[in-house]
């Protein structure tokens, strides 16, 4: 089949590779596997996949480095697999540009859902770079800096707008506190997660029907935020 999405799985544990290969092929994906970071980088360069599933704890070249090396030349979606106790590695991988994460052990439905989200956003991003981003009733026009909710203009402060523009510009990706703070406020504000809480709350009040049960500006507990566009 020609339209099968191509997934590259990089993990040093053969059992995981075997299981994922079997399961993903069952679900009509084309699967390539790599047992080391180096092999994974070589395979990704030889035939760029549509999505990479990357284990973080590998001997020699670890997942964070693989992630950083991939990001040097490609924006293809990267889904990292971490373990309990490896939270800091997970955040580090997201900081260097991974799109999403899953904690091992995970249910297969969860994995498939994340893969679908990653592929969908990659497909959207591949189209012509859009100046208008929309998610449900929210429309953000980057050229005029206008934000509308159900067609009505929403008044945002400059910081609120920058934060929303950055989040929506990376729709679907988990953006860590650090990434958001560095890109919206500046590098010297990397530690100030409390700023984010204040501004995310303000944005939700202005944009979400129920700010306490957000549908678009989602919290990734302890990690960051994610702007989602409904399927």
């Amino acid at each position: 089949m020609k339209n099968q999405p191509h997934i590259l799985v990089i993990d040093d544990e053969p059992q995981i590779l075997r299981a994922l290969k079997t399961i993903l092929r069952e679900r009509d994906f084309r699967v390539t596997t790599a047992g080391t970071g180096e092999e994974g980088l070589a395979l990704a360069a030889a035939e760029p996949p549509d999505l990479v599933v990357l284990d973080l704890s590998m001997p020699k070249m670890d997942g964070i480095e693989v992630c950083a090396r991939l990001r040097e030349w490609t924006q293809l979606p990267i889904l990292v697999l971490s373990v309990r106790g490896g939270e800091r590695d997970k955040v580090a991988a997201l900081d260097v540009g991974a799109d999403d994460y899953l904690t091992k052990p995970f249910g297969i439905e969860e994995l498939l859902a994340r893969i679908r989200v990653g592929l969908r956003h990659a497909a959207l991003a591949k189209g012509s770079p859009s100046v208008v981003i929309s998610s449900g009733p929210i429309v953000i026009d980057l050229s005029t800096r206008q934000v509308t909710l159900d067609g009505a203009a929403v008044r945002l402060t400059p910081t609120e707008y920058r934060l929303l523009a950055y989040l929506s510009g990376h729709a679907g990706r988990v953006l860590t506190h650090q990434t958001l703070l560095a890109n919206v406020w500046g590098d010297e504000y990397r530690g100030h997660t409390e700023y984010l809480r204040v501004y995310i709350r303000q944005l939700r009040k202005k944009l979400e029907p129920d700010p306490d049960d957000p549908q678009i500006l989602l919290t990734e507990p302890g990690i960051g935020y994610r702007f989602v566009t409904p399927e």
Partner: protein
């Protein structure tokens, strides 16, 4: 004319200082703090003393009998010898001998003597004066030595009191630096301790913020014991050199300091040995507890999977669904066990260093809920958090672990179909208290304090699964954040309380920069 010359002596600048010194030495003062007056000024003092006496005696000479004058002249001699030492005493004796002869013995205002009897008196006076000054001088130097020794002993006592019971090399170095700095009136002191067991180097400087100059220190005291050299005390002090007494005191300081360092080092090794022993004991306890705990879910998984593989179970049967669900649930169970083991080993190894950031309680609870909700379809959750709860400066992942353990514990002992509750409040501006509770049976009061101990179980191990580690992990994490965790029986259930300081420093989260509405 004579009065004038006496005043000019008194106004001699060096002398004024010496007189100031005299008064200060009479009141009780730190003797090392002042320098012993030079020989020259001590002699000058003795001469001034004799001159003064002469002035007074000469003024009242008509009232004095001939026998009284030499007697009174012994006063300045004794005084000089007593206060300023042997040399000053002898000079005073000689000066008194001369002035006595000059002003009081016929013929007056010459140094010649008319009567033989006067010569005898004069010679006798001189002999007595010399003997007195010698005795007084000896007594004075003995007293000075005794005083110096007493001081030394006092300082030493202060040092050893300050060093007693210290088990940290850095603290020891701090104390040595501080006391040396005070004692030797130094410009600066540096205490360097090197090559400790953990490869650490300690450098303590006094005063705070002072940096050691390039030039060589005035004095160096090696911190040395029989076992090894620990480092050195270096003292910089203007240009004044160290007297032998000071050098001796410095050596004593150094050897006391070195002993304290050795003691601290030995204590640290002992603590390490004890920790190792303790963790060894823990590991064996863990192994026995864990191997049992791991085997149960493994047995279930193995049995279910092999019966599914055997093909004996029909494809669409309920049995097949049951077996699959059992595998899924037991895998989750295994995952929790392994997670707890990992957390426990991190806490035990002392690697628990909270990475504090400003976090919202609500977010932490949400994160914890995400992990608990799946295996507990038969329970409801009710979470009530006030909207104005302050942010708390905690390690997100560790705190999520705490609440995930508390929630799963509450779920485990809650009757099927009941509700698990979470609520929070800020009892003061500095603390936040979270209550996690279920509608389960009460725990006997005598167990309440101990349920946070490792491997402690209220119920029979066979009835409820778990390693007995979850709650002690919670306690370890909460205490690492300076908080407190406890349990209590409610009228309608059983509750855990976690009270956390908003911030270890007492600071509040900084407000974001001002931001204006877009026009």
């Amino acid at each position: 004319m004579l009065a004038g010359s006496a005043r000019s002596i008194l106004l001699h600048p060096g002398l004024l200082i010496d007189i100031a010194w005299l008064t200060s030495s009479l009141s009780t003062v730190d003797p090392l703090a002042m320098q012993t007056p030079s020989l020259r000024s001590r002699v000058l003092l003795a001469v001034a003393c004799v001159s003064g006496t002469t002035l007074v005696l000469y003024a009242i000479r008509s009232a004095l009998g001939p026998a009284l004058v030499p007697l009174l002249y012994l006063l300045p001699v004794g005084l000089s010898a007593g206060l300023w030492g042997l040399t000053a005493g002898i000079v005073a004796a000689f000066a008194a001998f001369m002035t006595f002869n000059y002003f009081f013995i016929e013929p007056l205002y010459t140094l010649s003597v008319r009567h033989t009897s006067d010569l005898t008196v004069l010679l006798a006076f001189f002999a007595v004066a010399i003997v007195i000054s010698q005795l007084m001088g000896m007594a004075q130097s003995g007293l000075a030595a005794a005083k110096a020794r007493e001081r030394e002993a006092t300082r030493l006592f202060e040092l050893s009191t300050a060093l007693a019971g210290l088990h940290d090399e850095k603290e020891v170095a701090q104390i040595i630096a501080r006391l040396t700095f005070q004692e030797f009136l130094a410009d600066g002191v540096e205490v360097g301790v090197e090559g400790l067991d953990d490869g650490q180097r300690v450098r303590e400087r006094q005063p705070a913020g002072w940096s050691a100059p390039d030039r060589t220190p005035q004095a160096v005291g090696d911190l040395r014991t029989a076992r090894r050299t620990w480092g050195a005390i270096r003292i910089w002090r203007g240009t004044t050199t160290f007297s032998p007494a000071e050098e001796r005191l410095l050596r004593t300081f150094a050897s006391q300091g070195a002993l304290a360092l050795e003691r601290a080092n030995l204590a640290a090794s002992e603590t390490r040995a004890r920790v190792l022993e303790e963790s060894d004991r823990l590991k064996s306890a863990l192994l026995s507890s864990v191997s049992h705990e791991l085997r149960t879910p493994l047995a279930t998984i193995k049995a279910s999977a092999s019966s599914l593989l055997s093909g004996a179970v029909g494809w669409d049967s309920d049995a097949r669904q049951d077996l699959l669900a059992a595998i899924d649930e037991e895998a989750d169970h295994l995952n929790r066990l392994v997670g707890n083991l990992l957390d426990m080993s991190r806490i035990e190894s002392g690697a628990l260093k909270p990475d504090r950031k400003w976090n919202a309680i609500g977010e932490i609870i949400d994160g914890a809920m995400a992990g608990v909700r799946r295996p507990t379809r038969e329970h409801q959750f009710e979470i009530r958090l006030p909207k104005d709860l302050p942010l708390i400066e905690v390690d997100y992942f560790l705190m999520e672990q705490v609440f995930s353990n508390l929630l799963s514990n509450c779920v485990k002992y809650a009757p099927a179909g009941s509700t698990v509750h979470v609520s929070a409040e800020a009892p003061s501006a500095e603390a936040v208290e979270v209550e996690v509770w279920n509608e389960g049976p009460p725990v006997p009061e005598e167990h309440l304090g101990r349920i946070f101990d490792k491997f402690y179980r209220v119920t029979d191990a066979d009835r409820v699964t778990g390693t007995g580690l979850g709650l002690s992990i919670c306690k370890g994490i909460v205490e690492a954040h300076g908080g407190r965790i406890w349990a209590r029986n409610r009228p309608d259930g059983f509750a855990f309380h976690v009270r956390l300081p908003v911030s270890p420093t007492g600071n509040l989260p900084p407000a974001p920069p001002e931001d204006l509405e877009l026009a």
